[in-house]
């Protein structure tokens, strides 16, 4: 028997969990369950990231995506969780239409994913894996330590860093926070009849 490739086994595990729960998100009509399945799907994805050697991105995925974004989402779900909205049925026709269109998209994507030979599995020598956190941090600060040997000097000397996008994203986040606070700002509202019945 060939020895089991644990990398593949864990990939399979995470991939199945991820895809399975993605499909579950699609199929369930209960919005809270959807959120729960989404959590599992995204967590499994972070497992995939770990397997791909992107440990920092994986941890980031758990922390921001799963721990932050989704908590926010569920919070939103609970705020609006009035009975009728927990489960809203979609007309059957749209399911069919969606299934057809989505199925064709899936076929297209799958055939694209499997068609390029260079993307097929290759045996990679051990020892190339290095922790990525520092290099990512340096890249965000504008210095690409992984491109020190780059022959093109414009690539080498900081042109390929991500300082500017990083700053843009930071400002963007700030704007978003302000904006969302503004959108959901307090509004005054009269309480109708309840006031008079003291």
């Amino acid at each position: 028997m060939e020895p089991i490739n644990w990398h593949s086994v864990f990939f399979l595990l995470f991939a199945l969990v991820g895809c399975g729960f993605s499909v579950a998100v699609l199929l369930t009509s209960n919005v809270v369950r959807m959120a729960f399945y989404l959590v599992l799907a995204l967590a499994a994805t972070s497992g995939l990231f770990f397997l791909a050697g992107a440990d920092f991105v994986g941890a980031m995925q758990i922390m921001i995506y799963v721990g932050g974004t989704l908590v926010l989402l569920i919070f939103g779900v609970m705020l609006t969780a009035r009975g009728p909205f927990i489960s809203m049925r979609t007309p059957a026709g749209e399911w069919i239409l969606g299934a057809i269109i989505g199925g064709s998209l899936l076929v297209v994507l799958l055939s694209a994913a499997t068609s390029v030979r260079a993307w097929r599995p290759v045996a990679v020598a051990e020892g190339e894996a290095r922790p990525t956190a520092t290099r990512l941090g340096m890249a965000l600060l504008g210095a690409r330590v992984d491109k020190l040997e780059e022959p093109d000097p414009t690539q080498r000397e900081g042109m390929s860093g991500y300082l500017l996008p990083f700053e843009i994203v930071s400002v963007h986040l700030l704007v978003v926070l302000v904006g969302s606070a503004y959108l959901a700002r307090p509004k005054k509202r009269a309480v109708g009849s309840t006031a008079e019945t003291v």
Binding site: N5, V32, I62, M63, G68, I74, A129
Partner: protein
């Protein structure tokens, strides 16, 4: 361990067995820890409240009381309300437990004694602990009870807010150490107690207190236990739970308490390094003899556990002393106090580290700025070789194609 087993078992079985053993070991730590800490909580609260606490079960100190309670809980009927979303209701406690359980796999108990030697361990633990909130929220929603829903919403708001200052606080030691590897961070604080990051500069000292506040809040302990505030929300998110599932929530709560305390111990209190460099005096830590190294680690383990337990006890003390905050006050505490102070401490620590790279007391330390992959080679590697890291199948999975290299080609 897997290598050892492989002499006797097929490769796949060997890895599975090794993985199972590791998992069970951590589970034992979690479960046993919970038993002990619940007992401790009762004793501590008893002392604080001028009473004795449990005295009967298991001898004079009642140390088997938790076990007896656990048995009772297991035999209780597992009730499920009619209006509950049954699947989520059944799953929620386990989601909660899983999150705090998973955090242990990256937590070093002594120099190199860690299930998986992750190089983003700090980040990982903070991230994974953040997931515990899902169990609580799902429980709250799925119970079909309004009180539970209130608890869940409070939890959601609270945890999301407190992750911000918590993250900033955690970043400060990481910033000083220059790595997110907990083992490396622990190793950097070796020697006298003034090498601890707590005493690195005044800002870390401040930041530690903010960290502890935020950690208390993020694990739902009083005075931030709004999600289960019994005087307001009956029992909050676990109002409808009983028996085993209820006790699993408890396990999750206590094990995450331990995790945050242990994290504090490593980040601020030198981890497994005692206040005095006794192991260095005895020559244990630097010895090439594996047995000596083992003894040193054992001493480190005791040190580490002591610090963690002290942290937990401190939380208990706080719990049995203070009234509970209100939800808006909790949020205000986070946004008006914790976050600015943490940010201030962060900025201060940056400046301090820039001006006095060696810290408060000893200006010249050899580890000041190190690339993490440099670190990996001499210290971390030797640590890892004695640890479980290199033998765990998960480690294999993480570090790529080890398995492929070792076994795939023959």
């Amino acid at each position: 361990m897997a290598e050892y087993l492989q002499q006797y078992l097929p490769q796949s079985l060997a890895y599975l067995t090794a993985a199972l053993v590791h998992a069970v070991l951590i589970l034992v730590v979690v479960a046993l820890g919970t038993l002990i800490f619940i007992w401790l909580e009762r004793k501590v609260s008893g002392r604080i409240q001028d009473r004795l606490g449990p005295t009967r079960v298991g001898g004079k100190f009642g140390w088997l009381q938790t076990l007896a309670d656990g048995l009772k809980l297991i035999t209780k009927e597992d009730l499920r309300p009619a209006s509950a979303d049954s699947m989520l209701f059944l799953i929620a406690p386990y989601v909660s437990l899983c999150a705090s359980y998973v955090a242990y796999i990256a937590l070093p108990f002594a120099d190199g004694w860690v299930a998986i030697h992750l190089n983003v361990a700090v980040f990982f633990i903070v991230a994974v602990l953040g997931l515990e909130v899902f169990g609580v929220m799902l429980a709250g929603y799925a119970s079909g009870s309004k009180w539970s829903l209130f608890g869940a919403m409070r939890e959601a708001a609270q945890v999301v807010s407190y992750e911000v200052p918590l993250g900033i606080c955690v970043v400060v030691p990481v910033l000083i150490a220059g790595t997110m590897d907990l083992v490396a961070i622990g190793q950097m604080q070796a020697g006298w107690f003034f090498n601890w990051f707590l005493f690195h500069d005044p800002f870390t000292f401040i930041v530690f207190w903010v960290y502890f506040t935020c950690a208390t809040a993020s694990v739902n302990r009083a005075p931030f236990d709004l999600a289960e505030a019994e005087s307001e929300l009956v029992a909050g998110f676990h109002t409808e739970y009983s028996g085993v599932r209820w006790s699993i929530f408890f396990m999750a709560e206590y094990s995450s308490m331990v995790v945050v305390s242990a994290l504090a111990a490593i980040l601020f209190f030198g981890g497994w390094n005692g206040p005095l460099p006794i192991t260095h005096w005895l020559g244990l830590a630097d010895s090439a003899n594996p047995l000596a190294h083992y003894v040193a680690n054992l001493l480190g383990l005791i040190n580490f556990l002591g610090k963690a337990i002290a942290g937990v006890t401190f939380m208990m003390w706080v719990r049995w002393t203070l009234p509970r905050l209100r939800i808006d006050q909790v949020m205000a505490t986070c946004l008006k106090y914790c976050t600015p102070i943490a940010a201030f401490g962060f900025a201060g620590a940056v400046i301090w580290t820039f001006l006095f790279p060696g810290g408060l007391v000893i200006p010249n330390k050899d580890w000041v700025v190190q690339e993490e992959y440099q670190l990996d080679e001499p210290q971390a590697q030797s640590a890892a070789s004695t640890s479980a890291a290199s033998t765990s199948p998960l480690a294999h999975a993480d570090s790529g194609l080890h398995a492929e290299e070792h076994h795939g080609t023959d």
